[in-house]
Structure formats: C-alpha cells, structure tokens
C-alpha cells in the first residue's frame, strides 16, 4: 500500500507543495534584501571629527525599561534611565565631584541647613521660568514619598526669594549636597509629575515614551547652557546585553550601553565599532555573615575571613569571569571619591599559603574529602548570590567555589533570581557569604558603608555584617563632618575597619560600564554612574 501511494505522489509534487506551504519562508530574508529593506545606518567615512550640522537623530540601545511611572515614586525620564530631560540642582561629574547645575552655588547656613543660589534665566521646556517655588514643590513631593536618602521632610525646603532656597533635612545630614546630585532629585515644574506632560529644564525635551519599547527626546533649543549636539535621541530598550551588541554590529544602534563583556572582543574584531569604558563606578564583592545563627556561624572566625580575603585570585577572576574587563580594586568606593584618603585602605593580595596557614593555625584541618573541619564541623559555607540578581554575578560564585576549594573551604552556591528573593534570604540571615554588585550614584562617600554595615539604626544588612563600634564611630563622624577632607578620612578609616580589620567586606572586582559606539559616533563622556550619564555632547561625525 505504501509503495502504491509513493508512486502516486512524486518527489516533485511533494517539494512543490512544501514550498507552497511555507518551507521556502527562510528564503524570505534574501527576498527582502533584494527589496532594499535594510535598516543599516548609512556609512560615514572614518576619522571625521567635524561637529554635526543640521538634524541628527541618534539611536541608543539601553537595558530593560525599569521606570516606575505611578505615584510619588515615579521617575519617568529621570531614573534609572536618565534621558536628560530633567536636571538636579547640582550634578555628579565623572570624577565624582559636585558641580553647579540649576544651582550656581551653595553654602551651609546653619547647623543642618544648606542655602542654594539658583541659576537665573532658566526656563522649562514650555517656556515657564524656573525658580525657587519649583525646587520647593519638587522637594516637598520627595518628602511626601518618604524623603529619600537626603531625609527631606514637609518643612525641609524654604523659599528665601525667587532664586534662593534653604534646605534643612529632618535629621542631621551634612551630606545633603552630595546626595542631591542623584537624578531622583531633579527639579520638576511646580504642579507637574515626571512624564510627557512634565516639562524639565534639561538639554532634551520629551517627544514620546512607549513602555518597554523606547523613549524619544529632541534637542531643547532654549537650553540655558551649550545645546545638545544631536537633534534627537531614541533610546531603544533592548533588555538582552548580547542582543544590544548584535544590534550595534548590525548598524541598528549608534550606541549600545552596558555591553556583555564576552561579546566585546568579537565586536572590536568586526571593526566599525568602538569600545569605550567608563571609570569604575561599581563593585563586585562578598560580605561575610559575622553575626549568624547556627548553622551560619563559621564567618565569626577571623581566620576563616582572612582565608577568604587571601584565598581568591582576583586577577584570575577578572580574566576568566569578566573577560579582563574589570579592575582589581581593593575598596567598595570608586577611587576618586576618597581622594588621597583611599591610601588608608590596604586591601589584601592573593596569597594561598597565607590563607592555608591561617586556617591551619585556627585548627581547621584538611579532611578526607579535601574540605577542612574543626571539632567535627566541616568548613562548608553557603554563598548567596542575588543582588541585583543572580545573573548579574554570573560565573563569580563558581570561580569563588573553585578557588576556595583549593585551600580546603567548601562553598555551597545558593542563587536567588531577583532582589526580592535575595532580600528574603538576607532577612533570614540564611547564608555565610552574600555576593552583590553595588554601585555609587551620588557624591556621598559615606553612602555605601552606611547602608551596608552601619548599625545605627540596625538594618537587614548591619544585623549580619556590622563590624562593631569602631566602624560605627567612623561613620558617625563622617556623617557629621563639615569638611570634605574629614569626610574622606573618616569613611576611609571605616572601610579600613570593615575590609582590613574585621575582614567582613571581601572585594572581588571594580566594575565599569562598557559602551559600544559606531565608529562615527563621537563626544561621549562616560560617567561611572550610569544614572548620571550626559547625552548632550554625543554626535555623529561627518
């Protein structure tokens, strides 16, 4: 029967029907190519550095859309993707210094009060003049939403005159100016909220926003400072970093933000793409649970912490996990933030012999399986990976596991998919080591040490990691210090406590953002804090 059927339906018949049914569809790209549907960017001769003339629309590929667009926490256009529609009173420069923006100057006028002198002649995108009432409106709105890190309250902001405001945080906070560089403190026009109907003062103004697809802005022709070089920018949300790189290589993007490190080499090899790295603005590190309850008590042993500090080859980690694209920095803060005080932090070098000697000296003896034990307790630690999510630290837990195995420390990896589940584990103290990638997005050097380890008041973090009174005293001093030199010194001494003395903080790598640019794109000045990135100077040459 089958033979008879086969005789009736010939090979030619079958192929013809398959083609009609769609098997020829994969050939469609070629057909489309012939129809000229390519979306490649026009080729520009390399080497041209002439500033742009006329209209110039650029496309920037950015990570996933994470805007909160509802309620008092909405920061559309400001955070985390800053499209330069709104501006704060002061800005964060790439060297982590504070520069004037909508405020021309500031000074401390009371024990806990700062006076900001506002820039005259600034207008919002709708033509309305900018003034002190807008600052008060913005800061009162932040106060309604909880006050933010600056601790703003409903009566914190006082209008002195149309171009002068006084700001007094609810609690003593001399780091206010360094904190309000964050784009969340960008100034809104009185009575508006962030969004298409909320005009800003920045170098770009709104065109459109399509959630999880794109943001389009255009040049603000009445900007108070140098006008943006590009006439418009489309920020395309491309959640997958590898896809961003491929879209850049395909000519669909002019700039790709935060490229996947493994793809950088192949992108460079293709040519027509330039790779630009930002200064270090983030860190990858582990914190040791030193106040844990059974079974998470091993981190309380200083010998184990010393072994952790000296038992991991950071250079090898950077080469193998970060494709060589990270810095073996030894502190949690970007180096420029602490200035010369950074030298107070010593850090640790890779020294496997020292690590083994420390463990031997503390009675941790190598057992039959290569894992050490002491009084019957195996030296087996639980490493929790999950901030901001497990994928962000991919590869690091496995490297740490392999490295520490060599000195007799066993690691059990516990991966948490997102901040939420990680936070739950952190709250339970259910781990010995907690792996995070954190970033510094303001100019306050005390921010990260305070958030992570300061015990006043106790937090989820400090309950596990607070190194003790010496550290707390240094942070308290830093928070109350008036001179920047004193702040730097106090913070550096605090980090010295947590990293060198208590050995709670185990730095693994300094992280920087990597931009991919078509070779004709120029003018990008990468900011180590991605949320403070300026796009006004970028343009297409030629």
């Amino acid at each position: 029967m089958q033979d008879e059927v086969r005789r009736e339906i010939t090979r030619r018949d079958f192929i013809r029907r398959c083609a009609a049914a769609g098997i020829a569809l994969p050939a469609l790209p070629v057909v489309l190519a012939a129809c000229g549907s390519s979306q490649r960017t026009p080729t520009v001769s390399p080497g041209s550095t002439a500033p742009p003339a006329g209209n110039q629309e650029l496309t920037v590929g950015v990570a996933q859309d994470e805007y909160v667009t509802s309620g008092l926490k909405s920061h559309l256009g400001m955070y985390p993707l800053n499209v330069n529609v709104y501006e704060p009173l002061v800005r964060l420069d790439p060297d982590y210094s504070v520069s004037p923006q909508l405020a021309t100057s500031w000074k401390q006028v009371g024990a806990n009060t700062f006076r900001f002198q506002l820039r005259p002649g600034v207008t919002f995108h709708d033509g309305a003049p900018f003034g002190a009432s807008d600052v008060k409106y913005t800061f009162d709105r932040i106060a309604s939403g909880g006050g933010g890190l600056a601790g703003l309250g409903p009566s914190s902001t006082r209008v002195v005159d149309n171009l002068t405001v006084d700001v007094t945080p609810m609690a003593p906070n001399l780091r206010l100016v360094e904190q309000v560089v964050h784009p969340e403190y960008s100034i809104l026009k009185q009575g508006t909220v962030p969004g298409l109907k909320g005009p800003g003062t920045g170098p770009f103004r709104w065109v459109s926003y399509v959630p999880q697809s794109r943001v389009i802005v255009k040049r603000n022709p009445t900007y108070w400072a140098a006008k943006a070089k590009a006439s418009g920018i489309t920020f395309e949300f491309v959640p997958d970093a590898t896809s961003r790189g491929l879209a850049l290589a395909a000519g669909q993007l002019d700039v790709a933000v935060a490229l996947a490190r493994p793809s950088v080499a192949s992108l460079k090899a293709r040519g027509a793409v330039d790779i630009v790295r930002a200064p270090v603005g983030a860190y990858n590190a582990m914190y040791v649970n030193i106040h844990g309850k059974p079974p998470y008590t091993i981190g309380a042993d200083p010998a184990v912490r010393l072994a952790l500090q000296t038992g991991i080859d950071r250079h090898a980690l950077i080469q193998s996990v970060f494709s060589g694209l990270a810095d073996p920095g030894h502190t949690l803060l970007p180096a420029p933030l602490l200035g010369s005080a950074a030298s107070l932090i010593r850090g640790f070098s890779y020294d496997q012999a020292r690590a083994k000697a420390a463990l031997d000296g503390a009675g941790w003896k190598v057992g039959s399986g290569g894992i050490r034990a002491h009084n019957g307790t195996p030296l087996q630690l639980v490493l929790v990976n999950g901030f901001p999510d497990a994928a962000a630290n991919a590869g690091v837990p496995e490297f740490v596991q392999a490295s520490l195995r060599e000195i007799g420390i066993g690691i059990t990896i516990k991966s948490e998919p997102d901040t939420n589940s990680y936070s739950a584990v952190l709250g339970q103290g259910a781990g010995d080591l907690f792996l995070e990638t954190g970033s510094q997005n303001d100019a306050n050097p005390a921010f990260l040490p305070e958030v992570l380890f300061y015990g006043k008041p106790p937090s989820q973090y400090s309950k596990l990691f607070d190194p003790g009174p010496s550290f707390d005293a240094e942070i308290s001093a830093a928070l109350a210090a008036t001179s920047r030199a004193a702040v730097d010194r106090d913070v550096a001494l605090a980090i010295h406590q947590v990293e060198d003395v208590a050995m709670v903080f185990i730095q693994l790598a300094g992280i920087f953002a990597i931009f991919g640019l078509r070779s004709n794109i120029q003018g990008l000045v990468p900011n180590p804090s991605d949320v403070n990135q300026s796009w006004a100077s970028i343009y297409r040459a030629g």
Partner: protein, 326 residues
C-alpha cells in the same frame, strides 16, 4: 457518504460549567503563587527607588498604601470580585490598568505565536508525511535530524545565530525591535525552529500508523487516487494528535515566548510579565496567569470540539456523534 459532525449542546454546556470551576481554581492559584513567593513589591520597588533595601517602617508604609497589609482572603475576594467585572486591578509599578496592559501587549505576542504556529504546522505536516512515506530512507533521516535539532537547540542560541546571519553578516533584517513585517521574521523563525520538531515527529508516527490500517488498504483497493487516500483518509486521522499538540503549544507560546521576546526586544506580554515578576507587581502577574490560564482552558475546549470535525468516531462526553459513514 455525507458527514455531519455536529457538536452536542449538553457536552458544551457541561464543559463551560467546568470551565468556571477551573477558572476559580486558576484564580486562587494565581493569587497564591504571587503572594507565596519570597519577597514583596515594597522591597522590589523601594530598593530600586532608594538604592538600598528598605527598612521595615518603609515597607510597612508601602504595604499599607497598597492594601497589602489586609488579610490575604480579603485581598483575594476583592481581586476576584474585580476580575469578574473585568477589572484586574492596576499595576503597582506603572499605575496602568492590568487589563489595558495585557490588551496592549497581547497583540504582539499573539502575532508572534500565531505566525510561529502556522509556520510550524506548514512545515511539520508535509515534512512529517514525507518522512512517513519515505520511512527508513534519506528523507526520514533528514527530518529526524531536523526534529532532534529543534528539540535540542535552545531558542536563545537559535535567535543569536539568526541575528548574526541575517542582521549582522547579511544585513537584511533588523536585529531587534518591532518595526513592521521585517521585524517579525527572525523571532518567528526562532520560535518555529524551536517548536517544529515535535509535531513533525508526531505527524510521521501517526501517518505511519494510519497507513497500516485496513480502511486505507480498502480505500486504495477500490481505486481511489493516492492523493485522495493520503489527504482524505490518512491525514485526516493522523492529524488528531497533532492538533492536540498544536493547541497546547499555542497556549504555551502565548505565555512562554519571553526568551524570544527578550532577545529580539519584542514588545509582547512575556517581557512585561517578566518585569512584573521581578518587581512583585502582583496585579500584573495574577492578571496574566488568570488570562493565560483561561486561554489554556478555552483552547483545550476548542481542540476537543475540533476532534469531532477531524474524526467523527470521537465520542464527546459519552454521546456518539452521528452521521459518520465509517
């Protein structure tokens, strides 16, 4: 010889009543899954906002603002009552109506899923027949390789390869985004390659099985042309398991294209829901689960009813379908 495959009303009524019960079960499950997952929306949203994990006081204020401090039963009752009125709530993150959010994102996913399904069927059926008719020969081996490859290769890897081939090396298609028909091709091809293997093998197996049946031999013996034998008698019966599978895979595609949507920045519902899950945006997650759960149930019902059209011998709920000439 005329067929009249009609669908019994009582059977459909029973299935619809059952659907309500299943729907309530889905709603309870959707609500429970969201709230039993570790963490809460306050942690997700406020940590992004504050740059650190929020304090207990900040979390409590957030929960109170959103009514998350009420008993779970009360929250569930409010939610189900709203859902019955077409109100799935509003997103904590965007303030947008969940229904509006799903409605705005679903068309993109629907287009992607429908195109991938149609292309898969268009490939799987003829290739499966070809493999069956050339069983143990080269066509069979070729399609087996295709099927194994389809089942084995991860869709993200297929997606990257297609982007490299058709957007980077041969720059004829966009690498990502949703800018018209051209943007649809690579994601659809990726999904198709990922899902075509199973139905292809199903068709092959079913056709081989039916080819050995007595009625096929009889049809051939009475002089029917081979084309008629294959199309009317073999294919009609062989398609039943394939239709079942395609129905399930379509429902799966509506909820499971997140990887492809992410790689191609395709603005579908999968991408939106992933964001919602990360942020514990309960109303969106619950609304999505309820929505897709309902789609699953409805598609299953449709598939069951389609059986009667494909094979009149199928009995629905104990009621024989009349009119079959077999």
């Amino acid at each position: 010889m005329r067929r009249s495959a009609h669908v019994p009303f009582a059977y459909v009524a029973r299935r619809l009543i059952g659907l309500v019960a299943v729907w309530l079960g889905i709603s309870a499950l959707a609500f429970a899954i969201g709230h039993l997952a570790p963490g809460n929306p306050g942690t997700a949203i406020l940590s992004g906002e504050l740059g650190r994990l929020p304090t207990h006081a900040e979390l409590a204020a957030f929960d109170h603002h959103l009514g998350l401090d009420r008993p779970l039963v009360v929250q569930y009752a409010y939610w189900v009552a709203g859902a019955l009125h077409g109100n799935l709530g509003t997103s904590y993150l965007t303030g947008q109506s969940v229904f509006a959010l799903l409605a705005s994102r679903m068309p993109a996913t629907l287009i992607l899923a429908a195109c991938a399904l149609c292309l898969s069927a268009a490939l799987a059926v003829p290739l499966g027949i070809w493999a069956a008719l050339r069983s143990t020969r080269l066509p069979d081996s070729l399609t087996r390789v295709l099927a194994v490859g389809s089942a084995s290769l991860p869709s993200f890897w297929i997606g990257y390869l297609l982007i490299i081939a058709f957007a980077v090396l041969l720059p004829v298609l966009p690498a990502q985004g949703n800018a018209g028909l051209a943007s649809l091709i690579l994601p659809v091809l990726t999904l198709t390659i990922a899902i075509v293997g199973v139905p292809l093998r199903l068709v092959r197996t079913a056709v081989l099985e039916v080819l050995g049946q007595d009625y096929v031999r009889t049809a051939r013996a009475v002089g029917l042309p081979a084309r008629t034998v294959v199309v009317r008698h073999v294919l009609r019966n062989a398609l039943i398991p394939v239709v079942t599978y395609l129905g399930l895979i379509f429902a799966f595609l509506l909820s499971g294209t997140v990887i492809v949507e992410t790689i191609f920045s395709w603005p579908g519902v999968g991408l939106a829901v992933t964001t919602a899950i990360h942020n514990r945006d309960y109303p969106v997650v619950q609304g999505f689960v309820l929505f897709t759960g309902t789609i699953f149930v409805v598609i299953n019902l449709i598939v069951d009813l389609l059986y009667t059209l494909l094979d009149p011998r199928v009995r629905l709920g104990g009621t024989a379908v009349r009119g079959a000439d077999a």
